[in-house]
Each structure stands twice: as C-alpha cells, then as structure tokens.
C-alpha cells in the first residue's frame, strides 16, 4: 500500500476510532454466533453451545485487544485508554508522582521566577522605543593626559547650545530630579519631577488618557501629568480624571494627562508618579543646573557621535571664551549602573539557572529510570503474553506525558505566582525595579519546559522500550533482575548524582562568596561614630546668594542656629564621608604617573568636623581659623593615602592634588581611615578633607548633627530651622548617615540573596536525589543486608555498606564541583569585596553546610538498612 494510502487510512482510522472498534466487536460477535449455530446443529443445547463457543473463543477481551492492535485502531481511542490506565497507575503511587511534579516545579517554576527577577533588573534593556539612542551628555574637564573629571547636568544656556546641534541630536530635553511631595491630606506622598515639555515625545511615550505638555506650558505650573498608578491610588480610576486637579500641599494643578503603566523617567525610588512642566525660566530656589536627556539622530551611536561631539564642543567654547576648557562625552541614562560594570553577572545568572534546571531534570530522570527498571519484570511477563512492544512503549509514553504535563502545569503556576509575590515583596528599593516590572520571562519558561519534557519522556520511555525488547525468557528466569542491567543503571544513577553534587557545590561556593562579601561590606567599621548622626544637605538658591561671602555668612549663621536645637549634642557642616564627590589623588612629583595615585572622596570639613564625627587624627592638626579663604590651601588625608604615597616618612608638609585643575595642596594632618562608600570595590577610595572655609563654591553642603536621641526626631527640627533662615533652600537628603551607605548595599545584597536562593535549590535537589538513590539501593540490597545481619554483621558494617553506594558519586561530584568552581569563580571576582575567591572561611562554611545536608539525606536510608529484619528480608526473596 502506498504511503499516501496508508496515511489516509491512518487518519481515517484515527478519526473513526470508535466506529472501528464497534466494527471489530460486531465481526467477532458474528463469529461467535456462527459458532453457536454450528454447535447447535451438531446437537448441543443453545446454552451449552453458547458456553462452549465462548470457551472456544478464549478470552474475548484479549482477542479484541489483539485485533485492535493489529488494526492500529483509533489513536484517539487507544490514547484515551492509555491515559485512563496511566492515571490509575499514578494514583496508586502518589509519592512518586508527587516527587516528580515537585521537581518539575522546582526546576522550572522557581528557576524561571528567579531568572525573571534577574532579567528585569539586569538583562533587559530600557523599555523605551528609542532606548539605544537615548543618552546623557557629560561635561568633561580634561587637562594633560589622563586626568579628567566629568559632570552630569548642565546650565540652561549650555542646553540651548546643544539643542542647536541638530546634526547630533534630534531632541534634547531638561529635567529635574524627582522630589517627594505630599498630597493635601498630609499623609500620602507622591514622587514628582519636572520635565521639559517635549520629554514624552523624546522618550517615545504617549499618555494613555489626555495629552502631554504643550510647548507653551513650560512656565505654567498649573498643569500636571500623572501616572497610571497615581490615577488608581488617589483618584480611584475616575474616568473624568481630566476634570480633576491634583491637590498637593503647596500646589494645585489640573490633570491634563495620564501615562500608561510602564517605566517612569526620570528613574527614582519610589518611581515618579507626577510630572510638572519645566520652563525656560528657572524657579526661585532652583539650582541652575538641569539634568539632560538627549536622543541621537537615527543612525548615530555614542561611539560614532563622539567626533561630532568634540567638534561641537570646540565650536561652543569658541563662542563663549573665558571658561575652563572642557569636552563632552555621552553616557547611558540607564540607572542600572551595574549592567555596564558587571557583564559577567549575566553569565552567572544564566549559569545558575542552567545548573538548577539540570539538577532537577537529573532527579526526574533518576526517579523515572528507577521506576521503569522496577517494572521490567512486569514488562517481560506482558511480552510473554503477547503484548506488542509498541503498545507497551505507548503506555509508558502516556504515563510519562501525564507526569510531565502535570509537572509543567504546576511549574507554570509556581512561576507566575512566585513572580507576583517577589514583585510585591521586594522593596522597589533602589531603582532596581522602577525600570522594569517583574514579569515571567516566557523564553526561559518555554526553554525550561522544553528541556524538562524531553528529559521526562526520554527517561520514562527509552529504558522501557529497550527492556521490553529483550527476549522475555532471559528476564524471567533470573530472580527478577539481571546483574548487567543493574550495573548499567547504577552507572547512570551515579553519574546523575555526581553531576548534581557538582552543581550544588559550585552554586554553594558562589553564594558563599557573595554572602561573605556582603557581610564584610556591611560589617566594615565606618571608622567614625555613626550613631545618631544625622545629615541634612542644604542647597542655596542662585538668586541673592551669588556672592561667596554671603553664602559663607549664611552657613555660619545656620550652624549657630542649628546648634541651639534642643536634643543636639554637636553639629558641624561639611560632606559626610559617604558622599559621592570624587577625584583622583596624586602626590606631588608623581603627576605623570596617575596610577601612583587613586580615586579619592573629596570631603569638605566645617568647624569641629573631626570632633563631631569622631574621626581620629593620628598626625598633624585639624583645620583652624588660620585656614582662611584665600590663604594657602591645606588638606588632611587619610591613613591609607599617607602610607601609600610616603611609606617611609611623614606625610605632613607634603603636597597632593585631586585634580589637574587645582593647585597643589599641603597636607597638614593624617586621619584614620573611614568608610567612604558602600559600593563593592576591592580598594576603598582615599579620603581627602578640605576646609570648608577655603571652598570657593559653597553652594551646597550638609549639616552633620549628632543628636542625643534617635536622629529622625531631630531631623524635622533642623529642617524647620533651615527653612526659617532661607525658605527657598532645598534639602535633597535628610536622614541618618547610615542610610547613605545602605543605598549602595542594595545590589550586593540582592546578588547574594539570589545566588543563595539558587544554591539552596541546587543543594536540596541534590540531597533529594541522593536520598532517593540510597533508598533505592537499600531496597535492592534488602536480601543481601538480611543475609549479612543473619551472619552477625554489626550496624557499623551495614552503614558502611550503604555508604559505599553513595561515597563514590558524591566524592566525584565534590571534587568535580570544586574544580569547576575554581575555574568559574573569576566571574564573580568583580563583585567581591575584601574577599579572596579562595577564601578559606567560605569554603569551610560551604563544606559544613553540604556535609550537614548530605548527612540528612543519608540518615533515612541508613536507618532503614539497620532496621531490616533478616528473616523478613530473606523470605521476601
């Protein structure tokens, strides 16, 4: 029969399965009737004839089945049958089914959820339509070969200069950083930002309701665009939102538009929910600088735009002489700075997911293999009774598919649920989640599902097909199992266990390192007294304070006032050590070799700074009245700088500078090291302190206040004093100094947590696999153990026997895992803080954890082995 005909019949039969089955029944029934007739004709009574006919016909079911099989009846019908019997089978082994489904859930579900988290925070690019063309413009002051400092933000005149460069940017808009405003009810706070009128079109965003800003609205503060979240939260999704006004404590504005759910620019924590238009005229109280986002012309990349940028910068400077020379560079607007810094994080994330997935798959495979090998005897018997090999395989396939499907369904539910839970539980802390909502990554889910399905089906069906194909007599004549098959299976199982253990070890080491690193970072002594130390940053408005003496007078007066606040033990002004400002410190004589120096935090220190903060000076003196504005520049450097630059002599009297644009500064004191930032670096920045009295800018500084009670209570009072003195002053930050460090911890903590999550999963999976394998081994060897016990073996010997099965694969796994870890550890090296990749303490902890879990996994089977009753065991054979 041609294959086409065969196919047609196949399809026809498949669709008409039921009818075909009936036809067979009818045909067989006719045969029986004919037989009865014949027997009756021969003289049997009808009843006897019927009985005889049935008897002659044998078990009609078997015949019917064989007939059906030969006909390849009804795929659908057969499938239904297989499914039904499969379900019944699985119901009789609930533990096994539950275990397989659980591992599916772990391998796929949790894994995908965690990966989705990593994806949202690390992998996915910015969710704007023109994401790759959006840039920030940095002003770079360069002198000499390598020294440079770059600044983000620019004045409005500079912004206009850039706007004209249409050959580089087709759109450029200013914005102001988000601030927290309070609604008129006094309770709810809203994060609000002011943005240029064309910002939404620049980003490619359009409001879902209403409109964005009109060009003329820049200076009109009576309009606002709100976010979808705010619309729901504060207005209850009022469909007539465009008639409402947003009532804030100081401001009321008409709502002209509602943005769809999605990313909010400028990125902030908590995310921006209200946008006001930013005008050409600066507000009183504003700093003269604005943030800038620009969109490159299509076809330009940051790299290819650089020459154009340089050219434009030169042109702009020629038009405005008498300024220090500067250049321009482009930077990304993506706040997830770790993405650029740590591309290896991506690999680590993928690696961890793959490990856990494979580990879980290994368990699924193991379970299924063990089960099918148990049923070999059953298959042999059925084969002897005439069942077709394909039939058996089909039934196994149905069972495996059922398990796989149930497992996948469970996994998908687990993934979706987990993603939602994680998304709501994690503090939108840090700009981590304000960029992307947490979502299940369908690619990863599909991939994991695919892999697991293949694994489940393969391990469920293949061995059975092979086993079922074997000649029946061989299998039946032994006591139910052949030695060769057992050995083969054992090798496979051992391999699986070893692989799982290796994965678990690798992930454990990775997470151990990250956790240790984080703990070290957090636990690092600040070097000064942070208890009850409050920082309130203050920025003066440009108007009325254009004169430096005026600014100095203000801050002096402010300090006096603040010192009078009840509950305050001491106060000073200056930059807290965790400040962002940075330069590159080099000693005099070494300016040609920038690598002799290092990054340094530049900290302004007001009166009594060192005493108030509790920073000890080990050499020299503090700043004093003699360090006046216009006098010889002086500085105090920290211990590590002093030791690095002048290891053999005193640093006092030497000179340093933190930028090629400033003159050399004389060192008059050396202070103890302080923690300058919370960021993960192998080396902390140097700290160089400059007297505030010699600050030529002094637009902004911080009040550093030590209070007797909890710092927050005092904060409000301090802020009130500031406002009383200058209502237009802005206070971007106000809170305990410790908070400044905490900001930088979010990423390392996150990384450590995630990695530990993966490691725990892998470890549990390996432990489960180990437990299952040992239990199976004990069951297999029940007879042997029984004999040994009858012969007087002691428990210790039995335990050793059980262990023997486990020791080899586990050892191989551990050694392999250590080797792989040693090679892979380079990928996390960049994230480690004061931790060597081969940190002995970490390894010790990892070893202990692993040993404990392994012991727990082994405990059950061992106990079982010891308690075997030799008589029962022997009889069971």
């Amino acid at each position: 029969m041609s294959w086409l005909t065969r196919l047609r019949r196949y399809v026809r039969d498949a669709l008409r399965g039921h009818r075909l089955a009936n036809e067979i029944d009818e045909e067989l029934q006719f045969h029986i009737d004919a037989l009865v007739d014949e027997l009756t004709a021969r003289g049997f009574s009808p009843d006897e004839a019927r009985r005889a006919a049935r008897h002659r016909f044998g078990r009609i079911d078997r015949v019917r089945d064989e007939a059906r099989d030969a006909k390849g009846v009804g795929i659908v019908d057969g499938l239904r049958q297989d499914v039904r019997s499969g379900v019944r089978r699985l119901q009789s082994e609930p533990g096994f089914a539950a275990a397989v489904i659980l591992f599916f859930g772990i391998g796929i579900g949790i894994n995908t959820a965690m990966f989705s988290l990593v994806d949202a925070t690390l992998l996915k690019p910015l969710p704007f339509p023109y994401a790759e063309r959006l840039v920030d413009i940095l002003e770079v002051q360069r002198k000499g070969t390598a020294e440079e400092t770059s600044y983000s933000g620019m004045s409005r005149t500079r912004l206009d200069d850039w706007r004209v460069q249409r050959q580089i940017f087709d759109a450029i808009e200013p914005y102001k950083k988000a601030r927290r405003l309070t609604l008129v009810d006094g309770q709810t706070s809203v994060s609000a930002a002011r943005v240029g009128p064309e910002l939404f079109p620049l980003l490619g965003l359009t409001p879902a309701i209403g409109r964005g800003f009109l060009p003329g609205e820049g200076d009109d503060h009576d309009v606002v665009v709100i976010s979808d979240g705010l619309w729901k939260r504060a207005f209850g999704s009022d469909p007539r939102i465009l008639d409402r006004r947003l009532q804030l404590k100081d401001v009321s504005a008409a709502v002209v538009g509602v943005m769809p759910p999605g990313p909010a620019f400028p990125f902030a924590d908590p995310p921006v929910e209200a946008w006001f238009p930013l005008g050409a005229v600066p507000d009183p109280g504003d700093s003269p600088f604005v943030g800038v986002v620009a969109r490159l012309r299509p076809g330009l990349t940051p790299a290819s735009a650089q020459p154009l940028l340089d050219e434009a910068a030169t042109r702009i400077q020629k038009a405005r002489p008498n300024r220090t020379p500067w250049g321009a560079e482009l930077d990304t607007i993506d706040p997830r700075w770790w993405r650029a810094a740590n591309n290896s994080m991506v690999l680590v994330a993928f690696g961890a997911v793959a490990f856990v997935l494979l580990s879980a798959c290994a368990n699924v495979a193991n379970l299924l293999l063990a089960r099918t090998s148990n049923r070999e005897r059953e298959f042999a018997v059925r084969r002897a009774l005439g069942a077709g090999r394909i039939r058996l395989a089909r039934q196994l396939l149905a069972e495996s598919s059922l398990l796989a499907l149930a497992g996948c369904a469970f996994a998908m539910c687990a993934a979706l649920w987990l993603v939602r839970v994680i998304g709501s539980v994690l503090p939108p802390g840090a700009v981590l989640l304000s960029v992307h909502q947490m979502q299940v990554d369908w690619r990863v889910l599909a991939f994991a599902l695919g892999v697991s399905l293949i694994v489940a089906l393969a391990s469920g069906v293949l061995p059975a097909v092979r086993g079922a194909g074997q000649a029946a007599p061989t299998l039946l004549t032994t006591t139910g199992r052949t030695m060769t098959r057992t050995r083969e299976h054992r090798r496979t199982r051992d391999a699986f266990i070893a692989v799982q253990v290796a994965f678990a070890v690798v992930l454990l080491i990775g997470s151990g390192l990250l956790v240790t690193s984080f703990v070290r970072m957090v636990g690092l002594e600040p070097g000064y007294d942070v208890r009850n130390l409050l920082a309130v940053s203050v920025t003066l408005p440009e108007k009325d304070y254009s004169d430096l003496p005026r600014r100095q007078a203000f801050y002096d007066q402010l300090l006096e006032t603040v010192r009078g606040v009840p509950g305050i033990e001491a106060a000073t002004t200056g930059y807290p050590p965790a400040s962002e400002g940075a330069g590159h410190l080099v000693p005099e004589g070494q300016e040609q070799h920038p690598e002799s120096g290092g990054p340094a935090a530049i900290l302004r220190a007001g009166p009594d700074y060192f005493r108030v903060l509790g920073i000890r000076l080990i050499e020299g003196r503090e700043f004093s009245i003699s360090d006046r504005a216009g006098g010889a520049p002086v500085c105090i450097i920290d211990e590590q700088a002093a030791r690095r630059f002048w290891p053999a002599q005193t640093a006092l009297g030497q000179r340093v500078r933190y930028s090629p644009l400033v003159p050399w500064i004389t060192v008059v004191g050396v202070a103890r090291n302080v923690k300058t930032s919370g960021a993960a670096r192998a080396i902390d920045k140097f700290a160089v302190y400059l007297p505030q009295s010699q600050d030529t800018q002094l637009w902004a500084t911080s009040l550093l206040v030590r209070s007797g009670r909890d710092a927050r209570d005092v904060a409000a009072a301090v802020r009130a004093r500031v406002r009383a003195l200058e209502p237009r002053a802005t206070m971007p930050f106000s809170g305990p100094v410790e908070e400044l460090y905490a900001r930088a911890w979010v990423v390392p903590r996150f990384g450590a947590l995630i990695m530990s999550g993966f490691a725990a999963l892998a470890l549990l999976t390996a432990a489960a696999g180990l437990y299952a394998m040992l239990r199976y081994a004990v069951t297999q060897r029940t007879a042997e153990i029984g004999v040994r016990m009858a012969l007087g073996a002691r428990p210790a010997a039995l335990i050793r026997l059980v262990f023997a099965d486990a020791i080899r694969p586990v050892t191989v796994g551990v050694v392999g895992g250590l080797g792989i870890a040693a090679w892979l550890v380079r990928f996390v090296e960049a994230s480690l803080y004061h931790v060597s990749p081969y940190d002995p303490l970490t390894l010790l902890v990892v070893a202990t954890v692993f040993a404990a879990v392994a012991a727990a996994a082994v405990y059950g089977p061992v106990r079982r082995a010891i308690r075997i009753d030799p008589i029962v065991a022997l009889r069971a054979e």
């Binding site: 009818e26 045909e27 067989l28 006719f30 037989l35 002659r56 064989e66 099989d69 030969a70």
Partner: protein
C-alpha cells in the same frame, strides 16, 4: 494434531489461498482451513482476526460488509491483485522449503 504451532507467515499464506477461490467471512475461512486440512489445523480465533487485519493493512485483502447465508451482517474479505501476487510468491517459497526439509529428514 492439537497444539501444532503455526508460523504466522504460514497462516497468512493459507488465508490468502482460501480467499483465492472466493470471498469469505472470518468464520468461513477458519472452517474452510479446518476442513481442507482434515481437522488437523484448527485456527485459533485469536490468531485469525489479527492475521486478517494485518493482511488488510498490507493491502493484500480488502474487506466489506455484506449479508451472510443466514441473513446476518458479516464482513467479507476479498483477495486483491497484490494479494494474489503475494500468494504466488509465498507458495513458491513454501514449496521450496518443504522439499528441502524433507530431503534433510530423509537422510539417515
């Protein structure tokens, strides 16, 4: 002789031969074979119908419903051209085999 096991191919061949004369239903085929072999060969129903279906799958016979001698619905099997060809080939092989085996059995 009860208990003689027939090779599957031999049964197929005999069924084809039986159908070479005229279309028959399953029961009749079994009866015909039994009669032709003088009650030596009793075809088990469990072997007959699977054999018939296999032959049908291979396109050597076709089946259609008809009315039996007692006015009952029955399925009749008919030989196809391919079936006839297969019958010739099988008969040829069988004859050769039988001759060879008897030659062996006659040597002392």
């Amino acid at each position: 002789m009860a208990g003689t096991e027939l090779l599957q191919g031999t049964l197929d061949m005999m069924v084809l031969k039986t159908l070479a004369l005229e279309p028959l239903h399953g029961y009749a085929i079994a009866r015909r074979i039994r009669q032709a072999s003088s009650d030596v060969l009793v075809v088990e129903e469990g072997s007959l119908y699977p054999a018939l279906y296999r032959l049908e799958e291979r396109g050597l016979v076709v089946a259609e419903w008809g009315v039996s001698e007692h006015n009952r619905r029955a399925k009749y099997y008919r030989l196809t051209r391919a079936g006839r060809k297969q019958l010739e080939a099988a008969t040829d092989n069988w004859t050769k085999l039988a001759v060879a085996v008897s030659k062996v059995m006659q040597t002392t």
